[in-house]
Subunit: 355 residues, 5 copies
C-alpha cells in the first residue's frame, strides 16, 4: 500500500546532488529500451547499458529512451554527464517521493509524474514515480521499475504509426505519455467509484463495522490521489502556456486537452471526498438509529414485565392475611388483570411509535 | 440517476482526436433539425443526414442546426471536415463527461453546457450534455439524444418571431439557448427546494430513518448541480467580456443577465447545501434526544419497580421468623408503604424533569 | 417567512426584457410619492400615475420618486420608455429575487438592495427588495409595496432640512437611502443577538428540544442575512471608488462610511454563525451528558437491587433443607447483610463519582 | 463581558456626522492629560476642558493629548472644529463598536484600535476602543474612559526620557501606543493559554460538564479576540508601507515589528481555536467512552443476575412435584451451580475486555 | 513539550530594541565556534568571547560564526555594535517565539528558522529557534543553546571539503544550514508517521481511550509543525527569487530544491492532519459501534429472562387455586415451555442480526 512519506533518513546530511535512492528496495536489473522514429523510419532496441544510448543524443530523429529502474546511481550519473543534466535533477529522479513538478533548465525540461495502479485485493493504491526529461529531439523517461506501466498504447501507436505521433516531435511524445498517465487515473477512479457506490447501497440497509473500515480505506486512497493530481494541474498548465520553446504550438492544444482531463480528475476526486464524508455521517447516524431501536425494545420489555413481576411477587409474600388468596377465581382475575396491563402498555407504546 | 464518472475505459490508449462515444448507450437514430432565419425569412427542415446541412454553412441568414444524438462517429466526422472543426472538438462532443467549458478557436467558439432534468420519482437528477459550436452565421447544437430538451420556447420564439431574436445574429441565438439552460436550473432548484422544505417540517416532528435517506439523496443532487453550474460561471463571464469578435456588443448585456442568473443559481445551491448540512445535524441531535427520552422511561420504570420487587421478595422468603407475617394489617401496610415509595419517586423524577 | 428561491416558473421561456412579476402576490394599488427639493425649495406630492412624474425628469432640482408596488408591468413600461431605461433593468426591478447588485448604464446607475424586517412572532425575517435608479438629478426608488419602509427618517430630514441633505445632489440621496437600509440591518442583528444570548443562557442549564428548533431557525435567518449583505459590500465598494461620474467626491466619503458599516454587519453575521455552530455542538454534548447521568442512575439502581432480589429469591425457594430457615435471627441477619451490600455499593459508586 | 453588537438603535435615522455615543453608559467626567515634549523639554498637564488644548496645535514640540471619556458630544465637537476634523471621524470616535481601521485624511491619520483586558473572575474579556488621530506634531488619543489603560509604560518612557522616544516625532509616539496595545494582547493570550492548558489536563482525566462551559467561554473569547486583531493586521500593514507622509522612514521599521507581533498574535489565536475545537471533540468522545463503560457495568450485572434470579424463582414455584425439593443437598448444589454460572460469565466478560 | 506561547510578560513596556531573553531558562555558558574556509584554506576555532570574532568580519574567506546560547544581552549587544546590526534584529534573536521570517537590511539578511526535535518518550516536539545573519562573506548563526543541533553534517562537509561547499560563498552556507533544518523535518515526520500508522492499525481492532490521548497529542504536534513550516515556505521562496544581491545565481537553484522540500513537508503535515481528523471520526464511530453491541447483549438477556422470571413468579404466588399446581408433569411442562420461549427469542434475535 502507498505510504505518505518514504524513508529518507539515509539521505540526511549528504551534500546536495548526491545520488541516493529513496523508495522501495528493487533488485531487478535496469531495463533500457530505445524507440527511435521519424516519419517512416522506426527502430526499437533493448540496451544493456546507458552508455549505448549516447549516440541517440545528437540524432535528428525523435528518440524515446525508457529506463525502468532508477536504483543504480552509477548508470544515472553516466547519463547525466553525457547529456549535461544538473546533479539535482538526477537526485530528484532517484528520490521517488517527489511531488509532480516541472522545471525548465533552458535546453531541457524536467517533469515528474505519478503513475497510479489500483491493486484491488488489498484495497490500496500502488504509486510509481515517472520522471521525464524532454530535450529538443529526445525524451528520456525514468520509471521505478515496478511490474507494468501505462505506456504500451503509446508504444503501439509508434510501432504501427497510428495517429500522427510519428510525424510530431519529442514534445508530442511527452504529451502522449502524460496523457496516458492521466487517462489511467480515470481507470483508477472508475474502480474506486464502483466501490463507493456498492458501499453506498449497503450503507443504510446494514451498517456493519466492516463498512467503516472500507470507507476509511477509500478516504485514504482519495488523499493519495489528491496529492498526485493537484500539483499536476499546475505542471500541465505551465507547459500548455508554452513558456518553454521546447513545446510546439501544435502540441499546446493537446496539452490543453490533458489539462481539461486533469481538472476533471480533480473534480471527481473532490466529489468522491464529499461523498465519503457524507457516507461517514450517514453511517454514524445509522448506528445511532440502531441504538435507538435496540433501546426501545429493551424499554418496552422492561416496562411491561417489571410491574408484572412485582405484582406476582406481591401475591407470593408469606403474609398470613392477604385478601383474595382463598378466593376461587383469584388466579384467573390476576392473569386477566396482567393481560389488560400488557395490552394497555402495548397501546401506549404503539401510540408513541415505539413498536 | 446521474453518475459521478462515466465509463471511459474503452477510450484509454487510442490516439487523441479519435471519436469514441462516452455516455449512455443510445440506439435511436440521429435527429437533425435546421432552423434558418433572417428578419422576415424563416424556414424549418428535418434533415436525413448531416451532409444536407452543408449548404447552410455559407448562407447569409442565421442557421441553427440542432443535432440530437452524438453516438455515430461517422456523421460527426463528416460535419467536422466540412466545417473545419478541430478533431479534439469532435472528440469532446462525443464524450458526455465534459465539464462546462468554452474554447475559442478564432472563427468558431466551442461551448459545453449541462442540461439538467429532475426525474421526481426516483429522486435523482438526469443530466444531458449540450455542446454548442458558434460560428459567424451559424450555431450547431449537439444533444445526447435523450427524450425532450429545454429549447422549445426558443424555437417557438423563432417561429413566431416573438421578441427580437429574428433580428439578431447567431451569438444572440447562442445566448438564448444558454439562457434556456440556466432558466431550467431554476425549475430544478424549485423542485428540490420544495422537497427540502417538506423534509424540514417533518424533521423535528418525527425523525424517521427514511428522512436520512432523502437528505442524503438531496446532498448528492446538490453535488451534481454544483459540478454543472460552477464552471458555467467562468464560461459566461468570459463570453460576456467579449474577448471573441463573434459576440456582438448588443448581446453582451444579455450575457451579463445570464451571468447574474448563474451566480444566483450557485448562491441557491450553496444555501441548500448549508441547509442540508444543518438538517443532518438536527437529525442526529433529534435522534439523540429521542434516545434520551427512551432511556428516561426505562430508568424511571426500573428505579420504581426494582426496589418494590425486592421488598416483595423479602416477605416471600421462607424464614420461619419474619416479624409481621402474622399481623392482620401487614398486607395493607406493605401496600401503603410501596405506594408511598412510588409517589416519592415520582416527585423526585418530576423535579428532575424526567416525567 | 423568507424563502430561498421565489417561484420563477411562469417566467421560463419568455423573451428577455419581458416584464413578469416574481414575488409575493400583491393586489394593493401602486403608491407613488415625489419629493422634489433644492436648497430652500421643497415640494411633496402623491401621484396617481407614473406619467405625472415625467415633468420631474428635466427639472434642475433633485427629485426622489418613490414607487411602492412593482406588480404592474404597464406602469413600469411607461416609465422605462420615458426615461429610456434598458428593458432588462425593468425586468430586474419586477423580479424580486435579485441579489444586491450595481450596474452602470452610463447616464444612470441601477442598484438593487434588500430591506430586512424582523417579524418577531414567527421568528423569521421579512425581506423586501428595493431597486434604485440614480440619474443626474433624480432618484427613483422601487419597493415591493409591503407595509412600511425604513426611509422615513430620510424623508423627515428632507422635509425639515435637517443635516446637509437639501444642499446635496441625487447621489447623496442615494447614499442616504442605502445608509438607512444598512442601519436597519443593525436593528435586525440586535434583535437576533438578543435571542441568541437568551438561548445561550438556557442552553447549558436546560437543553430542551425546543432550543434546537430555535437555533435551527436562527441559523436559517443568518443564511438569509448573509445572502443579502455579502454582495452589498461589493456594490458599495464599487460606488465608493467613484467609477461613475454620477457620484460626487463629497459623497464618496459618506459611502466609505456605509462600506464600513456593511463590513461590520458582515462581521457580526459571521460571528453569530460561529456562535450558533458552537451552540449546536454544546447542545449535542449536553444531551450526551444528560444521557450519561440518566444511565448512571439506572446502573446504580440495577446494580444494587438485582443482587438483593436474587438473594431474597434464594431464601424463597421451596427446598426442604435450607440452612438457617429455622433460626430465629435469620431475617435480621439477612436484612443486615443486604444493608451492608447497599452501603458497600454506594461507597464504590461514590468513589467512581457516579453519585 | 464583551458583547458582539452594541446597542445602536438610538442612532438610526439621524443625519451622518451627528455625534451619538454608542457604548457602555459612563458618567465620569472626561479626563484630559497633555504630555508635551521635544528632546530635553517636557511638560505634563491635566486639563479642565478641551479648549485648553488648542495652544498645543501649532507648537513645534510633540503633543500627546490623551482624552479619557468620549461620551460628551459637545467637547468633541469643539475639538473637531478647532483641529478641522471631519464630522464622520468624530462620529466614529464616539461609536465604540468600530472595527480596527485606518483612514488617511491627508493632513491627519485616523486610527481605531481595541484595547483588551482579561477580567479573570467571570472569564470574559473587557474590550475598550482607542482612537488615535495622528497629525504632523500632535497625537490625540481617545479612550472610552474605563478604569486603567496600557499606556503607562509609554508615559514613563516619555517622562524619564528612556529609549529614543523624546527624540522622535508624533508618528513614533503613535507606534509606541500601538505597540503597547499589541503587547497587551500577549498578556491576554498568555492568561487564556494557561486556562486552556489547565483544562486540557483535566479534560481526559475527568470530563465534567463544567469543562464544557469553560471551553465554550474560551471559544467566545477567541471569537472576540479575532475580531479585534484580524483587521489590525491590515491597519499596521498600510501604515508600514508609508503611504502617508506623516510616517517617517525611521518609524516604518518599528511598525514592521508591530506587524510581526500582530501576525504572531493572529497565529496564536488561530492555534488556540484549533486546540479548543479539538478539545470539544475529545470531550464529546470522552463522554461517549464513559457512557460505554457505564453500560458495560449495567450489562454485566444484568447478565449475571437475571438468569440467577430466574433459577431461584423456578425453585420458588408452588408446584407439588418439583424434583429435588426434598433432597438434602439441593440447596448446596443450587448455590454451587449458580456460583459456576457467575464464574463462567465473568470469564466470558473478561475475554470480551468488559471487565 | 513545546508551548504555543512563550512567557513575554517581562518584556511588556520596555522600549523597542531592548534586549530581553524570551524562552526557556538556560544557564550554560555561551559556546562560540568559528569555521573559516576558502577553497583549500580551513580553520576551526572555539572562542571565549564574541569580541574575538571581530577579525573575521573583514576577512576575504567565508566565516561561519556559530553561537549557542542567546541569553546574555551584553555579548549580543557587543556583536551588534561591531557588525552594525539593527537593535530590533538583536531583540528578535533573543525572543525565541518568532515565526520563521526573512528580513532584508541591504548589506545583511536576517533569517529566523525553527529546528525541531522529536523527543519520543513524552510524545512531544522540542522546538529550538535558529537565527541566521547572512553578510557578504560571513554567516552568523544563533541557537538557543539546547543539547545538539542538526548542523553536524554541514560541519563535516566543510572540514573534509566534501561536495562543493568550500568553493562557494556564504550564501551557499546559509542554504546548507536551511537544507539541514528542512531535512530534519523529514526525520520528525517519519517518526510521527510511524506513530500514526501504528495507531491506525490498533484503531478499529481495539479503540481504547488511550488511543484518543495519543491522537490528541499527535494533532497538537501537527499544529506546532505547521506553525514552523508554513511561514518557511514564504522565506525560502523570497530568497530563491534572488531579490537580495547577497544570493548568487548558482545558489538559487539549490534554494529551489529547499523550496520543493518545504512544500513536500507542508503537504505531508496536511495529509497527516487529514488522516488524524479521519481517525478521530473512526474512533468516535467505533465507540458508538461498541455501545451498540453492548446494548444488544443487555437487551437480549433482559428480553429473555424478564418474561421467564415473571412466569416463574406467577406459579410462586400463594393463591389457593392455581390450576396445575397438583399435576405431576407441571414442572416438566413449565420448563419445556420456558425452553421453547428461549429458543423462539433466540431465533428472532438471530434474524434481527443481534446475535
Amino acid at each position: 500500500m502507498a505510504r505518505v512519506l518514504k524513508k529518507r533518513s539515509n539521505k540526511i546530511g549528504v551534500p546536495p546532488g548526491t545520488l541516493v535512492h529513496i523508495g522501495e528496495e528493487i533488485t531487478k536489473d535496469v531495463k533500457i529500451t530505445v524507440l527511435d522514429y521519424k516519419n517512416e523510419e522506426f527502430q526499437e532496441q533493448k540496451m544493456d547499458s546507458l552508455e549505448a544510448c549516447i549516440p541517440f543524443r545528437d540524432k535528428d530523429s525523435v528518440s524515446w529512451i525508457d529506463i525502468e529502474g532508477i536504483h543504480q546511481p552509477a548508470t544515472l550519473e553516466g547519463l547525466g554527464k553525457c547529456y549535461g543534466f544538473h546533479p539535482l535533477v538526477l537526485e530528484d529522479i532517484m528520490a521517488t517521493d517527489q511531488r509532480p513538478k516541472m522545471e525548465d533548465f533552458g535546453d531541457y525540461l524536467f517533469i515528474v509524474l505519478k503513475m497510479i495502479k489500483y491493486s484491488g485485493n488489498n484495497g490500496g493504491l500502488d504509486i510509481e514515480q515517472v520522471s521525464l526529461i524532454l530535450g529538443k529531439n529526445y525524451l528520456i523517461s525514468f520509471q521505478e521499475g515496478k511490474e507494468g506501466d501505462v505506456f504500451n498504447p503509446v508504444r503501439e501507436r509508434i510501432r504501427t504509426s497510428k495517429g500522427r505521433i510519428r510525424n510530431m516531435g519529442a514534445d508530442y511524445l511527452a504529451y502522449a505519455l502524460m496523457d496516458a498517465v492521466v487517462d489511467n487515473y480515470y481507470l483508477v477512479l472508475e474502480k474506486l467509484g464502483e466501490e463507493i457506490e456498492s458501499i453506498e447501497e449497503r450503507l443504510m440497509a446494514d451498517p456493519v463495522p466492516e463498512t467503516l473500515r472500507v470507507i476509511h480505506g477509500l478516504k485514504r486512497d482519495m488523499i493519495f490521489l489528491r496529492k498526485s493530481v493537484w500539483p499536476l494541474r499546475e505542471v500541465v498548465s505551465v507547459l500548455e502556456r508554452r513558456e518553454s520553446l521546447l513545446i510546439a504550438e501544435s502540441t499546446a492544444i493537446y496539452l490543453k486537452d490533458v489539462y481539461d482531463h486533469t481538472i476533471q480528475v480533480i473534480d471527481t476526486v473532490e466529489t468522491y471526498r464529499d461523498m465519503l464524508a457524507g457516507m461517514l455521517d450517514i453511517y454514524l447516524t445509522s448506528i445511532n438509529n440502531r441504538l435507538n431501536s435496540v433501546m426501545k425494545v429493551l424499554t418496552v420489555i422492561a416496562t411491561i414485565f417489571m410491574p408484572l413481576s412485582f405484582f406476582a411477587s406481591v401475591y407470593g409474600m408469606n403474609f398470613k392475611f392477604i385478601p383474595g388468596l382463598e378466593w376461587e377465581w383469584s388466579f384467573t382475575v390476576f392473569n386477566g388483570a396482567m393481560g389488560l396491563i400488557v395490552i394497555g402498555m402495548m397501546l401506549i407504546f404503539r401510540k408513541k411509535k415505539w413498536l
